[in-house]
Protein backbone atom coordinates (compact mmCIF):
# COMPACT_ATOMS: atom_id res chain seq x y z
CA UNK A 1 0.00 0.00 0.00
CA UNK A 2 2.77 2.43 0.99
CA UNK A 3 4.57 1.69 -2.19
CA UNK A 4 1.43 2.37 -4.22
CA UNK A 5 0.84 5.64 -2.46
CA UNK A 6 4.40 6.71 -3.23
CA UNK A 7 3.93 5.85 -6.87
CA UNK A 8 0.68 7.79 -7.00
CA UNK A 9 2.25 10.89 -5.52
CA UNK A 10 5.20 10.65 -7.84
CA UNK A 11 2.96 10.33 -10.87
CA UNK A 12 0.87 13.32 -9.86
CA UNK A 13 3.92 15.45 -9.20
CA UNK A 14 5.32 14.45 -12.54
CA UNK A 15 2.09 15.43 -14.30
CA UNK A 16 1.96 18.80 -12.59
CA UNK A 17 5.62 19.48 -13.32
CA UNK A 18 5.15 18.34 -16.93
CA UNK A 19 2.13 20.58 -17.47
CA UNK A 20 3.94 23.57 -15.98
CA UNK A 21 7.08 23.11 -18.06
CA UNK A 22 5.05 22.60 -21.25
CA UNK A 23 3.07 25.77 -20.62
CA UNK A 24 6.22 27.73 -19.80
CA UNK A 25 8.37 26.31 -22.56
CA UNK A 26 6.27 27.14 -25.59
CA UNK A 27 6.14 30.81 -26.52
CA UNK A 28 2.63 32.00 -27.34
CA UNK A 29 2.32 33.69 -30.71
CA UNK A 30 -0.31 36.42 -30.97
CA UNK A 31 -3.64 34.93 -32.02
CA UNK A 32 -2.42 31.35 -31.48
CA UNK A 33 -4.30 28.73 -29.46
CA UNK A 34 -4.79 29.99 -25.91
CA UNK A 35 -2.44 28.68 -23.26
CA UNK A 36 -3.55 25.64 -21.30
CA UNK A 37 -4.46 26.46 -17.73
CA UNK A 38 -1.09 26.16 -16.04
CA UNK A 39 -2.27 24.44 -12.90
CA UNK A 40 -4.75 21.61 -12.58
CA UNK A 41 -8.36 22.78 -12.28
CA UNK A 42 -10.54 21.19 -9.64
CA UNK A 43 -14.31 20.80 -9.52
CA UNK A 44 -16.82 19.39 -7.07
CA UNK A 45 -18.92 16.35 -7.83
CA UNK A 46 -21.24 14.24 -5.71
CA UNK A 47 -21.55 10.54 -6.50
CA UNK A 48 -23.70 7.87 -4.93
CA UNK A 49 -21.43 4.85 -4.95
CA UNK A 50 -22.83 1.52 -3.79
CA UNK A 51 -25.54 3.36 -1.89
CA UNK A 52 -23.25 5.82 -0.12
CA UNK A 53 -23.12 9.49 -1.05
CA UNK A 54 -19.63 10.93 -1.59
CA UNK A 55 -18.85 14.60 -2.13
CA UNK A 56 -15.53 14.88 -3.93
CA UNK A 57 -13.33 17.68 -5.12
CA UNK A 58 -11.32 16.35 -8.01
CA UNK A 59 -8.98 17.50 -10.75
CA UNK A 60 -11.33 17.88 -13.75
CA UNK A 61 -9.17 15.32 -15.57
CA UNK A 62 -10.07 12.56 -13.11
CA UNK A 63 -11.86 9.70 -14.80
CA UNK A 64 -14.67 7.94 -12.99
CA UNK A 65 -12.28 4.97 -12.72
CA UNK A 66 -9.60 7.02 -10.96
CA UNK A 67 -12.19 8.64 -8.69
CA UNK A 68 -13.33 5.18 -7.59
CA UNK A 69 -9.85 3.76 -7.13
CA UNK A 70 -7.72 6.70 -5.99
CA UNK A 71 -10.23 8.88 -4.16
CA UNK A 72 -12.72 6.35 -2.76
CA UNK A 73 -10.19 3.48 -2.54
CA UNK A 74 -12.62 1.08 -4.16
CA UNK A 75 -9.92 -0.89 -5.91
CA UNK A 76 -12.19 -3.73 -7.04
CA UNK A 77 -12.69 -1.88 -10.31
CA UNK A 78 -9.55 -2.48 -12.35
CA UNK A 79 -7.53 -0.34 -14.74
CA UNK A 80 -6.53 -2.41 -17.75
CA UNK A 81 -5.96 -0.55 -21.00
CA UNK A 82 -7.34 2.83 -19.80
CA UNK A 83 -8.67 3.41 -23.33
CA UNK A 84 -12.02 1.64 -23.39
CA UNK A 85 -10.89 -1.51 -25.13
CA UNK A 86 -10.54 -4.16 -22.43
CA UNK A 87 -13.61 -3.68 -20.22
CA UNK A 88 -11.75 -4.31 -16.92
CA UNK A 89 -13.05 -0.99 -15.57
CA UNK A 90 -16.74 -1.75 -16.29
CA UNK A 91 -19.14 -0.46 -13.61
CA UNK A 92 -22.87 0.20 -13.62
CA UNK A 93 -23.81 3.89 -13.84
CA UNK A 94 -27.52 4.44 -13.17
CA UNK A 95 -27.88 0.73 -13.89
CA UNK A 96 -26.14 0.75 -17.26
CA UNK A 97 -22.75 -0.83 -17.89
CA UNK A 98 -20.13 1.78 -18.61
CA UNK A 99 -16.35 1.76 -19.10
CA UNK A 100 -15.31 4.02 -16.23
CA UNK A 101 -11.96 4.88 -17.84
CA UNK A 102 -13.57 6.81 -20.72
CA UNK A 103 -15.77 9.09 -18.69
CA UNK A 104 -14.94 11.91 -16.31
CA UNK A 105 -16.02 11.84 -12.67
CA UNK A 106 -17.39 15.39 -12.99
CA UNK A 107 -19.80 14.23 -15.72
CA UNK A 108 -21.70 12.12 -13.17
CA UNK A 109 -23.08 14.62 -10.67
CA UNK A 110 -25.70 12.77 -8.61
CA UNK A 111 -25.28 9.48 -10.49
CA UNK A 112 -25.70 6.08 -8.86
CA UNK A 113 -22.58 4.01 -9.42
CA UNK A 114 -22.42 0.31 -8.63
CA UNK A 115 -19.02 -1.36 -8.50
CA UNK A 116 -18.13 -4.97 -7.80
CA UNK A 117 -17.99 -4.06 -4.09
CA UNK A 118 -21.63 -2.95 -4.28
CA UNK A 119 -23.01 -6.00 -6.11
CA UNK A 120 -22.41 -8.38 -3.23
CA UNK A 121 -20.22 -9.08 -0.22
CA UNK A 122 -18.10 -12.13 0.64
CA UNK A 123 -20.88 -13.37 2.92
CA UNK A 124 -23.73 -12.40 0.61
CA UNK A 125 -22.61 -12.85 -2.98
CA UNK A 126 -24.51 -11.55 -5.96
CA UNK A 127 -25.77 -14.54 -8.01
CA UNK A 128 -23.35 -13.58 -10.80
CA UNK A 129 -20.41 -13.58 -8.38
CA UNK A 130 -21.46 -16.98 -7.04
CA UNK A 131 -21.83 -18.37 -10.56
CA UNK A 132 -18.35 -17.15 -11.59
CA UNK A 133 -16.89 -18.99 -8.58
CA UNK A 134 -18.94 -22.13 -9.21
CA UNK A 135 -17.98 -22.27 -12.90
CA UNK A 136 -14.37 -21.18 -12.38
CA UNK A 137 -14.95 -18.18 -14.66
CA UNK A 138 -11.47 -16.73 -14.16
CA UNK A 139 -7.82 -17.54 -13.68
CA UNK A 140 -5.80 -14.48 -12.64
CA UNK A 141 -9.00 -12.61 -11.75
CA UNK A 142 -7.94 -9.18 -12.99
CA UNK A 143 -10.73 -8.85 -15.56
CA UNK A 144 -13.31 -10.50 -13.29
CA UNK A 145 -14.90 -7.45 -11.59
CA UNK A 146 -15.43 -5.91 -15.04
CA UNK A 147 -16.72 -9.21 -16.45
CA UNK A 148 -19.22 -9.57 -13.61
CA UNK A 149 -20.48 -5.97 -13.77
CA UNK A 150 -20.74 -6.28 -17.55
CA UNK A 151 -22.62 -9.60 -17.31
CA UNK A 152 -25.13 -8.09 -14.88
CA UNK A 153 -25.62 -5.24 -17.37
CA UNK A 154 -26.00 -7.68 -20.27
CA UNK A 155 -28.84 -9.61 -18.64
CA UNK A 156 -30.64 -6.35 -17.91
CA UNK A 157 -30.16 -5.25 -21.53
CA UNK A 158 -31.62 -8.52 -22.84
CA UNK A 159 -34.55 -8.09 -20.45
CA UNK A 160 -35.09 -4.55 -21.78
CA UNK A 161 -35.01 -5.85 -25.38
CA UNK A 162 -31.74 -4.18 -26.44
CA UNK A 163 -30.74 -5.87 -29.72
CA UNK A 164 -27.24 -7.10 -30.59
CA UNK A 165 -25.22 -7.94 -33.68
CA UNK A 166 -26.04 -11.61 -33.00
CA UNK A 167 -29.80 -11.03 -33.13
CA UNK A 168 -31.06 -12.77 -36.28
CA UNK A 169 -34.22 -10.65 -36.35
CA UNK A 170 -33.38 -7.12 -35.26
CA UNK A 171 -37.06 -6.30 -34.59
CA UNK A 172 -37.70 -9.38 -32.41
CA UNK A 173 -37.05 -9.80 -28.70
CA UNK A 174 -33.44 -10.94 -28.22
CA UNK A 175 -32.80 -14.53 -27.21
CA UNK A 176 -30.68 -15.80 -24.34
CA UNK A 177 -28.46 -17.89 -26.61
CA UNK A 178 -24.75 -18.54 -26.18
CA UNK A 179 -24.14 -16.63 -29.41
CA UNK A 180 -25.97 -13.60 -28.02
CA UNK A 181 -24.07 -13.68 -24.72
CA UNK A 182 -20.69 -14.04 -26.48
CA UNK A 183 -21.41 -11.09 -28.76
CA UNK A 184 -22.68 -8.92 -25.91
CA UNK A 185 -19.63 -9.70 -23.75
CA UNK A 186 -17.15 -8.86 -26.53
CA UNK A 187 -16.16 -5.62 -24.78
CA UNK A 188 -14.62 -7.59 -21.91
CA UNK A 189 -11.29 -9.19 -22.67
CA UNK A 190 -9.91 -12.12 -20.61
CA UNK A 191 -6.32 -12.81 -21.50
CA UNK A 192 -6.31 -15.99 -19.43
CA UNK A 193 -8.99 -17.21 -21.81
CA UNK A 194 -11.66 -18.17 -19.28
CA UNK A 195 -14.38 -17.32 -21.80
CA UNK A 196 -16.02 -20.76 -21.89
CA UNK A 197 -16.50 -20.78 -18.12
CA UNK A 198 -17.59 -17.13 -18.05
CA UNK A 199 -20.26 -18.04 -20.59
CA UNK A 200 -21.39 -20.99 -18.44
CA UNK A 201 -21.65 -18.73 -15.39
CA UNK A 202 -23.73 -16.09 -17.18
CA UNK A 203 -25.92 -18.74 -18.80
CA UNK A 204 -26.70 -20.26 -15.41
CA UNK A 205 -27.72 -16.90 -13.93
CA UNK A 206 -29.75 -16.04 -17.04
CA UNK A 207 -31.51 -19.42 -16.92
CA UNK A 208 -32.26 -19.02 -13.24
CA UNK A 209 -33.92 -15.70 -13.91
CA UNK A 210 -35.85 -16.71 -17.01
Amino acid sequence: MDMNDDLTITRRELLIAGAASAAGGIPQAAGAQPAQPEAPVTARVSLQVNGTRHALEVDTRTTLLDALREHLHLTGTKKGCDQGQCGACTVLVDGRRTVSCLTLAVMHQGAKVTTIEGLGTPTSLHPMQAAFIKHDGYQCGYCTPGQICSAVGVLDEIKRGVPSHASADIAARPLLSAEELRERMSGNICRCGAYANILDAITEVAGGKA
Binding site: A19, A22, Q33, P34, A35, Q36, P37, E38, A39, P40, V41, A43, D59, T60, R61, T63, D82, Q83, G84, G87, T90, R96, R97, T98, V99, L102, T103, L104, V106, M107, Q109, S150, G153, V154, E157, R160, G161, V162, P163, S164, H165, S167, I170, A171, R182, E183, R184, M185, S186, G187, N188
Partner: protein
Protein backbone atom coordinates in the same frame (compact mmCIF):
# COMPACT_ATOMS: atom_id res chain seq x y z
CA UNK B 1 -4.23 14.90 -20.29
CA UNK B 2 -3.68 18.66 -20.26
CA UNK B 3 -5.53 20.60 -17.56
CA UNK B 4 -8.88 22.07 -18.60
CA UNK B 5 -11.75 23.94 -17.00
CA UNK B 6 -15.22 22.45 -17.09
CA UNK B 7 -18.82 23.62 -17.08
CA UNK B 8 -22.26 22.07 -17.43
CA UNK B 9 -24.90 23.78 -19.57
CA UNK B 10 -28.64 23.17 -19.81
CA UNK B 11 -29.75 24.78 -23.09
CA UNK B 12 -28.35 24.64 -26.64
CA UNK B 13 -28.01 28.45 -26.62
CA UNK B 14 -25.93 28.30 -23.41
CA UNK B 15 -23.81 25.56 -24.93
CA UNK B 16 -23.08 27.48 -28.11
CA UNK B 17 -22.41 30.68 -26.14
CA UNK B 18 -20.06 28.86 -23.76
CA UNK B 19 -18.00 27.60 -26.69
CA UNK B 20 -17.95 31.00 -28.38
CA UNK B 21 -16.73 32.62 -25.15
CA UNK B 22 -13.62 30.47 -24.84
CA UNK B 23 -11.30 29.73 -27.73
CA UNK B 24 -9.99 26.19 -27.27
CA UNK B 25 -13.28 24.98 -25.78
CA UNK B 26 -14.99 21.79 -26.91
CA UNK B 27 -18.38 20.16 -26.42
CA UNK B 28 -18.38 17.01 -24.28
CA UNK B 29 -21.16 14.42 -24.63
CA UNK B 30 -20.43 10.68 -24.28
CA UNK B 31 -16.71 11.42 -24.22
CA UNK B 32 -15.70 7.95 -25.41
CA UNK B 33 -13.60 9.28 -28.29
CA UNK B 34 -12.70 12.75 -26.99
CA UNK B 35 -11.30 11.53 -23.65
CA UNK B 36 -9.31 8.81 -25.36
CA UNK B 37 -7.72 11.44 -27.63
CA UNK B 38 -7.19 13.84 -24.71
CA UNK B 39 -5.24 11.21 -22.79
CA UNK B 40 -2.88 10.98 -25.76
CA UNK B 41 -2.82 14.79 -26.07
CA UNK B 42 -4.09 14.56 -29.64
CA UNK B 43 -7.02 16.66 -28.46
CA UNK B 44 -6.03 19.41 -26.01
CA UNK B 45 -9.12 21.49 -25.20
CA UNK B 46 -8.64 24.20 -22.56
CA UNK B 47 -12.31 24.11 -21.57
CA UNK B 48 -15.00 21.44 -21.78
CA UNK B 49 -18.68 22.30 -22.14
CA UNK B 50 -20.65 19.29 -20.88
CA UNK B 51 -23.86 19.13 -22.93
CA UNK B 52 -25.25 15.95 -21.34
CA UNK B 53 -27.95 17.87 -19.46
CA UNK B 54 -29.50 19.36 -22.62
CA UNK B 55 -33.02 18.11 -23.42
CA UNK B 56 -31.87 16.43 -26.61
CA UNK B 57 -32.36 12.79 -25.64
CA UNK B 58 -35.71 11.99 -27.26
CA UNK B 59 -36.73 10.27 -30.48
CA UNK B 60 -39.86 11.92 -31.85
CA UNK B 61 -41.98 11.57 -34.99
CA UNK B 62 -41.70 14.41 -37.52
CA UNK B 63 -44.63 16.01 -39.33
CA UNK B 64 -43.34 14.44 -42.56
CA UNK B 65 -43.63 10.93 -41.10
CA UNK B 66 -39.97 10.42 -40.24
CA UNK B 67 -38.12 10.46 -36.93
CA UNK B 68 -36.16 13.20 -35.22
CA UNK B 69 -33.34 11.74 -33.12
CA UNK B 70 -32.03 14.01 -30.37
CA UNK B 71 -28.28 14.60 -30.51
CA UNK B 72 -27.82 13.00 -27.07
CA UNK B 73 -29.74 9.78 -27.71
CA UNK B 74 -27.29 7.03 -26.77
CA UNK B 75 -26.33 4.56 -29.49
CA UNK B 76 -27.85 1.64 -27.52
CA UNK B 77 -31.15 3.48 -27.05
CA UNK B 78 -31.35 4.41 -30.73
CA UNK B 79 -30.69 0.80 -31.77
CA UNK B 80 -33.39 -0.38 -29.33
CA UNK B 81 -36.17 2.05 -30.32
CA UNK B 82 -39.07 -0.01 -31.69
CA UNK B 83 -39.73 2.41 -34.57
CA UNK B 84 -36.09 2.33 -35.62
CA UNK B 85 -35.95 -1.46 -35.48
CA UNK B 86 -39.17 -1.77 -37.49
CA UNK B 87 -38.77 0.98 -40.12
CA UNK B 88 -35.02 1.71 -40.23
CA UNK B 89 -33.49 -1.72 -39.63
CA UNK B 90 -30.29 -0.71 -41.45
CA UNK B 91 -29.64 1.89 -38.74
CA UNK B 92 -30.30 -0.44 -35.83
CA UNK B 93 -28.09 -3.10 -37.43
CA UNK B 94 -25.27 -0.63 -38.10
CA UNK B 95 -25.37 0.61 -34.50
CA UNK B 96 -25.08 -2.86 -32.96
CA UNK B 97 -22.24 -3.68 -35.37
CA UNK B 98 -20.17 -0.89 -33.81
CA UNK B 99 -18.06 -0.73 -30.64
CA UNK B 100 -19.01 -2.72 -27.51
CA UNK B 101 -22.13 -2.85 -25.35
CA UNK B 102 -20.54 -0.54 -22.79
CA UNK B 103 -19.54 2.06 -25.38
CA UNK B 104 -22.95 1.97 -27.05
CA UNK B 105 -24.49 2.82 -23.66
CA UNK B 106 -22.28 5.91 -23.46
CA UNK B 107 -21.79 7.18 -27.03
CA UNK B 108 -24.31 9.67 -28.45
CA UNK B 109 -25.81 10.16 -31.88
CA UNK B 110 -23.99 13.46 -32.48
CA UNK B 111 -20.75 12.18 -30.97
CA UNK B 112 -20.83 9.16 -33.25
CA UNK B 113 -20.89 11.53 -36.26
CA UNK B 114 -18.06 13.60 -34.74
CA UNK B 115 -15.72 10.72 -33.94
CA UNK B 116 -12.29 10.93 -35.47
CA UNK B 117 -10.37 8.43 -37.57
CA UNK B 118 -8.70 5.39 -36.04
CA UNK B 119 -5.72 5.68 -38.41
CA UNK B 120 -2.79 4.39 -36.29
CA UNK B 121 -0.59 7.27 -37.46
CA UNK B 122 -3.17 9.81 -36.30
CA UNK B 123 -2.93 8.13 -32.89
CA UNK B 124 0.88 7.90 -32.88
CA UNK B 125 2.11 11.36 -31.91
CA UNK B 126 5.69 10.41 -32.87
CA UNK B 127 4.83 10.23 -36.57
CA UNK B 128 3.79 12.92 -39.07
CA UNK B 129 0.05 13.21 -39.72
CA UNK B 130 -1.65 15.99 -41.70
CA UNK B 131 -4.84 15.49 -39.74
CA UNK B 132 -3.14 15.92 -36.36
CA UNK B 133 -0.48 18.46 -37.36
CA UNK B 134 -1.50 20.12 -40.66
CA UNK B 135 1.36 20.20 -43.13
CA UNK B 136 3.48 17.59 -41.34
CA UNK B 137 2.89 14.87 -43.93
CA UNK B 138 1.04 11.55 -44.14
CA UNK B 139 2.70 8.49 -42.64
CA UNK B 140 0.02 6.11 -43.90
CA UNK B 141 0.88 6.79 -47.55
CA UNK B 142 3.81 4.44 -48.05
CA UNK B 143 3.26 3.05 -44.54
CA UNK B 144 1.02 0.36 -43.13
CA UNK B 145 -2.18 1.09 -45.03
CA UNK B 146 -4.22 -2.10 -44.94
CA UNK B 147 -7.09 -0.41 -43.07
CA UNK B 148 -7.09 2.82 -45.07
CA UNK B 149 -9.22 4.53 -47.71
CA UNK B 150 -9.33 3.32 -51.29
CA UNK B 151 -11.50 6.05 -52.78
CA UNK B 152 -11.96 9.80 -52.30
CA UNK B 153 -8.53 10.03 -50.64
CA UNK B 154 -5.88 12.66 -51.38
CA UNK B 155 -2.10 13.02 -51.35
CA UNK B 156 -2.50 14.55 -47.89
CA UNK B 157 -4.57 11.84 -46.19
CA UNK B 158 -5.89 8.31 -46.73
CA UNK B 159 -7.72 7.93 -43.40
CA UNK B 160 -11.21 6.44 -43.16
CA UNK B 161 -14.20 7.54 -41.10
CA UNK B 162 -14.78 4.84 -38.48
CA UNK B 163 -18.54 5.13 -37.92
CA UNK B 164 -21.00 2.37 -38.77
CA UNK B 165 -24.01 4.49 -37.81
CA UNK B 166 -23.09 7.23 -40.29
CA UNK B 167 -23.01 4.71 -43.16
CA UNK B 168 -26.61 3.72 -42.43
CA UNK B 169 -27.60 7.39 -42.09
CA UNK B 170 -26.04 8.03 -45.51
CA UNK B 171 -28.08 5.21 -47.05
CA UNK B 172 -31.20 6.69 -45.42
CA UNK B 173 -30.39 10.28 -46.55
CA UNK B 174 -30.71 11.61 -43.00
CA UNK B 175 -30.22 15.29 -42.22
CA UNK B 176 -28.21 16.86 -39.39
CA UNK B 177 -29.74 19.83 -37.58
CA UNK B 178 -27.53 22.36 -35.78
CA UNK B 179 -27.66 25.61 -33.89
CA UNK B 180 -25.03 28.30 -33.27
CA UNK B 181 -24.31 30.95 -30.64
CA UNK B 182 -26.68 33.35 -32.46
CA UNK B 183 -29.48 30.79 -32.12
CA UNK B 184 -29.63 30.22 -35.88
CA UNK B 185 -30.64 26.70 -36.89
CA UNK B 186 -29.34 24.99 -39.99
CA UNK B 187 -29.98 21.69 -41.74
CA UNK B 188 -27.08 19.81 -43.31
CA UNK B 189 -27.74 16.75 -45.52
CA UNK B 190 -25.66 13.82 -44.25
CA UNK B 191 -24.11 13.61 -47.74
CA UNK B 192 -22.48 17.01 -47.13
CA UNK B 193 -21.80 16.69 -43.41
CA UNK B 194 -18.44 14.89 -43.63
CA UNK B 195 -15.77 16.24 -45.95
CA UNK B 196 -13.24 14.54 -48.17
CA UNK B 197 -9.65 15.15 -47.02
CA UNK B 198 -8.34 17.22 -49.96
CA UNK B 199 -5.56 19.50 -48.73
CA UNK B 200 -7.23 20.07 -45.36
CA UNK B 201 -7.75 16.64 -43.77
CA UNK B 202 -7.92 18.24 -40.33
CA UNK B 203 -11.23 19.88 -41.33
CA UNK B 204 -13.51 16.87 -41.11
CA UNK B 205 -17.07 18.21 -41.13
CA UNK B 206 -19.07 21.16 -42.42
CA UNK B 207 -19.68 22.41 -38.87
CA UNK B 208 -18.56 25.95 -38.12
CA UNK B 209 -16.74 26.77 -34.91
CA UNK B 210 -19.20 26.66 -32.00
CA UNK B 211 -21.98 25.06 -34.03
CA UNK B 212 -23.85 22.42 -32.01
CA UNK B 213 -25.64 19.39 -33.44
CA UNK B 214 -29.16 19.29 -31.98
CA UNK B 215 -30.71 16.35 -33.84
CA UNK B 216 -30.53 13.95 -36.74
CA UNK B 217 -33.71 13.51 -38.78
CA UNK B 218 -34.72 10.42 -40.73
CA UNK B 219 -37.04 10.69 -43.75
CA UNK B 220 -40.35 8.77 -43.76
CA UNK B 221 -39.77 4.98 -43.89
CA UNK B 222 -38.42 3.83 -47.24
CA UNK B 223 -39.65 0.24 -47.06
CA UNK B 224 -37.55 -2.49 -48.66
CA UNK B 225 -35.18 -4.93 -47.03
CA UNK B 226 -32.65 -3.31 -44.72
CA UNK B 227 -29.20 -4.87 -44.55
CA UNK B 228 -25.95 -3.92 -42.84
CA UNK B 229 -23.02 -6.24 -43.46
CA UNK B 230 -19.69 -5.54 -41.82
CA UNK B 231 -16.45 -7.36 -42.63
CA UNK B 232 -13.74 -7.08 -39.97
CA UNK B 233 -10.71 -8.87 -38.58
CA UNK B 234 -12.60 -10.13 -35.51
CA UNK B 235 -16.19 -11.38 -35.23
CA UNK B 236 -17.03 -8.53 -32.85
CA UNK B 237 -15.72 -5.24 -31.50
CA UNK B 238 -13.51 -4.20 -34.41
CA UNK B 239 -13.61 -1.44 -37.00
CA UNK B 240 -14.74 -2.31 -40.51
CA UNK B 241 -12.42 -3.31 -43.30
CA UNK B 242 -15.50 -2.88 -45.47
CA UNK B 243 -19.15 -2.45 -44.55
CA UNK B 244 -22.27 -2.26 -46.71
CA UNK B 245 -25.53 -0.54 -45.82
CA UNK B 246 -28.19 -1.52 -48.32
CA UNK B 247 -31.89 -0.89 -48.69
CA UNK B 248 -33.28 -3.05 -51.46
CA UNK B 249 -36.87 -3.05 -52.73
CA UNK B 250 -38.69 -6.08 -54.08
CA UNK B 251 -38.04 -4.99 -57.68
CA UNK B 252 -34.27 -4.94 -57.07
CA UNK B 253 -33.91 -1.16 -56.95
CA UNK B 254 -32.57 0.59 -53.85
CA UNK B 255 -29.61 2.30 -52.26
CA UNK B 256 -26.18 1.28 -51.09
CA UNK B 257 -23.52 3.03 -49.01
CA UNK B 258 -20.10 1.76 -47.95
CA UNK B 259 -18.07 2.14 -44.78
CA UNK B 260 -14.36 1.53 -44.25
CA UNK B 261 -13.38 2.68 -47.73
CA UNK B 262 -13.28 6.49 -47.59
CA UNK B 263 -12.93 9.60 -45.43
CA UNK B 264 -16.74 9.69 -45.22
CA UNK B 265 -19.61 7.25 -45.69
CA UNK B 266 -19.33 6.42 -49.38
CA UNK B 267 -22.38 6.58 -51.61
CA UNK B 268 -22.58 7.28 -55.34
CA UNK B 269 -26.08 7.83 -56.72
CA UNK B 270 -25.03 6.37 -60.11
CA UNK B 271 -24.15 3.15 -58.26
CA UNK B 272 -27.63 2.95 -56.72
CA UNK B 273 -29.08 2.94 -60.24
CA UNK B 274 -27.00 -0.17 -61.05
CA UNK B 275 -28.40 -2.23 -58.16
CA UNK B 276 -30.80 -4.27 -60.37
CA UNK B 277 -27.81 -5.22 -62.57
CA UNK B 278 -25.72 -6.66 -59.77
CA UNK B 279 -22.77 -6.17 -57.47
CA UNK B 280 -20.09 -5.87 -60.16
CA UNK B 281 -21.81 -2.93 -61.83
CA UNK B 282 -22.56 -1.29 -58.48
CA UNK B 283 -18.95 -1.67 -57.32
CA UNK B 284 -17.52 -0.33 -60.57
CA UNK B 285 -19.55 2.88 -60.10
CA UNK B 286 -18.71 3.17 -56.41
CA UNK B 287 -15.01 2.75 -57.08
CA UNK B 288 -14.68 4.91 -60.20
CA UNK B 289 -11.41 6.79 -59.67
CA UNK B 290 -10.39 4.59 -56.71
CA UNK B 291 -6.73 4.85 -55.67
CA UNK B 292 -6.03 1.89 -53.38
CA UNK B 293 -2.56 1.21 -51.99
CA UNK B 294 -0.82 -2.10 -52.58
CA UNK B 295 -1.84 -3.16 -49.06
CA UNK B 296 -5.53 -2.30 -49.26
CA UNK B 297 -6.35 -3.08 -52.91
CA UNK B 298 -8.12 -6.17 -51.52
CA UNK B 299 -10.91 -3.88 -50.31
CA UNK B 300 -12.23 -3.44 -53.86
CA UNK B 301 -13.07 -7.11 -54.52
CA UNK B 302 -14.02 -7.53 -50.85
CA UNK B 303 -16.56 -4.70 -51.13
CA UNK B 304 -17.95 -6.10 -54.37
CA UNK B 305 -18.43 -9.52 -52.77
CA UNK B 306 -19.98 -7.97 -49.66
CA UNK B 307 -22.43 -6.08 -51.88
CA UNK B 308 -23.17 -9.36 -53.69
CA UNK B 309 -23.82 -11.06 -50.36
CA UNK B 310 -26.12 -8.23 -49.33
CA UNK B 311 -28.09 -8.44 -52.59
CA UNK B 312 -28.33 -12.21 -52.19
CA UNK B 313 -29.64 -11.71 -48.65
CA UNK B 314 -32.20 -9.20 -49.94
CA UNK B 315 -33.52 -11.67 -52.51
CA UNK B 316 -33.74 -14.61 -50.13
Amino acid sequence: MKPFSYERVTTPAQAAAAIAAKPGAKFLAGGTNLLDLMKLQIETPTHLVDVNALALNKIEPTREGGLRIGALVRNADLATDARVRRDYGVLSRALVAGASGQLRNMATTAGNLMQRTRCPYFYDTNTPCNKRVPGSGCSAIGGFSRQHAVVGSSDACIATHPSDMAVALRALDATVETTNAGGQARVIPIADFHRLPGNTPHVETELQSGELITSVTLPPPLGGTHIYRKVRDRASYAFALVSVAAIVRRDGTGRVALGGVAHKPWRVEAADAELPRGAREVASRLFAGARPTQQNAFKLPLAERTIAAALHQARS
